[in-house]
């Protein structure tokens, strides 16, 4: 795990050093300041930006989707213009520059290893120290006369505003959670409404996250499929390919569990009963299993085979749904720990029982039981 993390961090840095050599297409020119030429960026998205968003939503591409940390200009900012802080995950940066459309402002991009603001704040890269360092290295004090930085509110997890002020002279004001609220916030004289302080989790927010729930689950799927085919194909005379196909209903039920755990539960999250994600996922898995079992004629199979299916698949859906806690905007660590404390023994036990039942069903097939 440790090694994996290190590797993941190195990728964005490597990408940055490459990006530094060619001018990114969102840079449309430069603005002369006392601290030198500052790159000016477009506030509209190109096709490449839109494609980048899609790619970063579905897979590992997000780990290389970065911008060079430092100071940028939007419009024609001057010495009194607002300074907005962002992370160097390009999607965070893109959403901010788009929100600043029609405004004259500075963007201070912190080095967060290519991670978005909230996550980086939790990990300690969107931090007090990095902000102080970036204010100094970008010579922000020479570019503007005022001493205020507007940081995304979710950055407050990692940025101690008072400390930044003590160390850099810049006051940190926490702006709206959602960059789209920035124009309204600025118009209101840099005042947030309570609604601007709240993090939302709309159907659309949840849906864009589901590809990254389905992908990791499907990475494990081949192991499950191989195990099922092996057990199904196992005969006293060896592994028979034709018999392996008898495992097909279980493979389909496995896909269904991924679908209910990684897609249906997240999408319908507020409408599924229970607060526990494990229970939500189990319920959705069970509800889907009943008609599916009917279609696949599970009733025609031996009792242990049926029992194994009803025990395992809703549990698999539950386990997968529980992973979504990592993506929501409202699940805390204590809650997830509580779910896992009960959940892990239940998952392990039900997997073991389902496996034994499946073996029993084989023995019945072989007329040993």
């Amino acid at each position: 795990m440790q090694e994996l993390n290190i590797r993941r961090y190195q990728q964005p840095e490597a990408a940055q050093s490459c990006a530094a050599k060619v001018k990114p297409e969102y840079v449309t020119g430069t603005i002369p300041t006392q601290a030198g030429e500052i790159p000016r960026v477009s506030s509209s998205w190109s096709r490449a930006d839109r494609l980048g968003e899609i790619k970063s939503r579905v897979g590992a591409f997000r780990m290389r989707y970065t911008v060079e940390p430092g100071l940028y200009a939007v419009g024609e900012p001057g010495r009194d213009s607002d300074v907005f802080a962002s992370a160097n995950y390009k999607l965070s940066f893109d959403i901010l520059r788009r929100a600043l459309s029609g405004m004259n402002a500075w963007i201070l991009v912190l080095d967060t290893n290519g991670i978005n603001v909230w996550c980086a704040a939790g990990k300690g890269t969107f931090s007090t120290a990095e902000m102080v360092k970036r204010i100094a290295s970008s010579k922000l004090g020479e570019v503007v006369d005022h001493r205020v930085i507007i940081a995304p509110q979710l950055g407050a997890v990692g940025v101690r505003a008072r400390q930044v002020e003590k160390l850099s002279g810049f006051k940190v004001r926490f702006g709206p959670v959602d960059a789209a609220d920035i124009p309204g916030y600025v118009r209101a004289g840099h005042r947030k409404t309570d609604a601007m302080r709240r993090v939302k989790f709309t159907l659309k927010d949840r849906l864009v996250l589901t590809p990254m729930e389905i992908n990791p689950a499907m990475k494990q799927y081949p192991w499950f499929a191989a195990a099922i085919l092996l057990v199904a194909g196992l005969q006293p005379t060896g592994i028979i390919f034709a018999d392996a196909l008898k495992g097909l209903p279980l493979l389909l039920l496995g896909l269904l569990a991924v679908f209910t755990g990684a897609f249906v539960t997240p999408a319908l999250l507020p409408f599924v009963p229970f607060r526990s994600f494990a229970l939500k996922g189990w319920l959705m898995g069970m509800i889907a299993l009943i008609p599916a079992a009917n279609m696949l004629d599970l009733a025609g199979k031996s009792l242990p085979y049926q029992a194994a299916s009803y025990i395992f698949f809703p549990m698999a859906s539950s386990y997968i749904a529980l992973q979504f806690t990592g993506s929501t905007t409202f699940t805390g660590m204590s809650g997830v720990k509580k779910e896992l404390k009960i959940g892990i023994p239940v998952y392990l036990a039900s997997t073991a029982i389902a496996t034994l039942l499946l073996v029993a069903s084989k023995l019945i097939d072989w007329r040993i039981l």
């Binding site: 795990m1 780990m63 101690r160 993506s327 779910e339």
Partner: protein, 96 residues
């Protein structure tokens, strides 16, 4: 949407609170209100233990065991040891 009831570790030490309202400003779930010169917790179950309030309370009036509310991170920390840390490849709520 609220998560499990009665699990959050958040604690407001009212004696230390000066009512500056920083906590209410940074909380993404409206857990705090300032009434009569002191902060108060409205609904504990809304707290997701992100820690923004405690980080920005200059008076040490808020304590919370903050961390990532992410099953994968916690499972990894159980298996491999260490603090739960989101590796941020799997999500974008924590990571978006």
């Amino acid at each position: 949407m609220k998560y499990l009831a009665n699990v959050t570790t958040i604690r407001l030490i009212t004696d230390k609170c000066v009512g500056c309202g920083k906590c209410a400003d940074v909380c993404p779930h409206g857990v705090f209100v300032v009434e009569g010169g002191k902060a108060a917790i409205t609904d504990r179950d809304k707290c997701m233990e992100c820690g923004a309030c405690a980080t920005n309370c200059e008076f040490g009036a808020i304590e919370v065991e903050s961390g990532v509310g992410c099953a994968a991170a916690i499972i990894n920390s159980i298996i491999y040891g260490g603090e739960p840390s989101c590796d941020c490849t799997g999500s974008s709520g924590c990571c978006g």
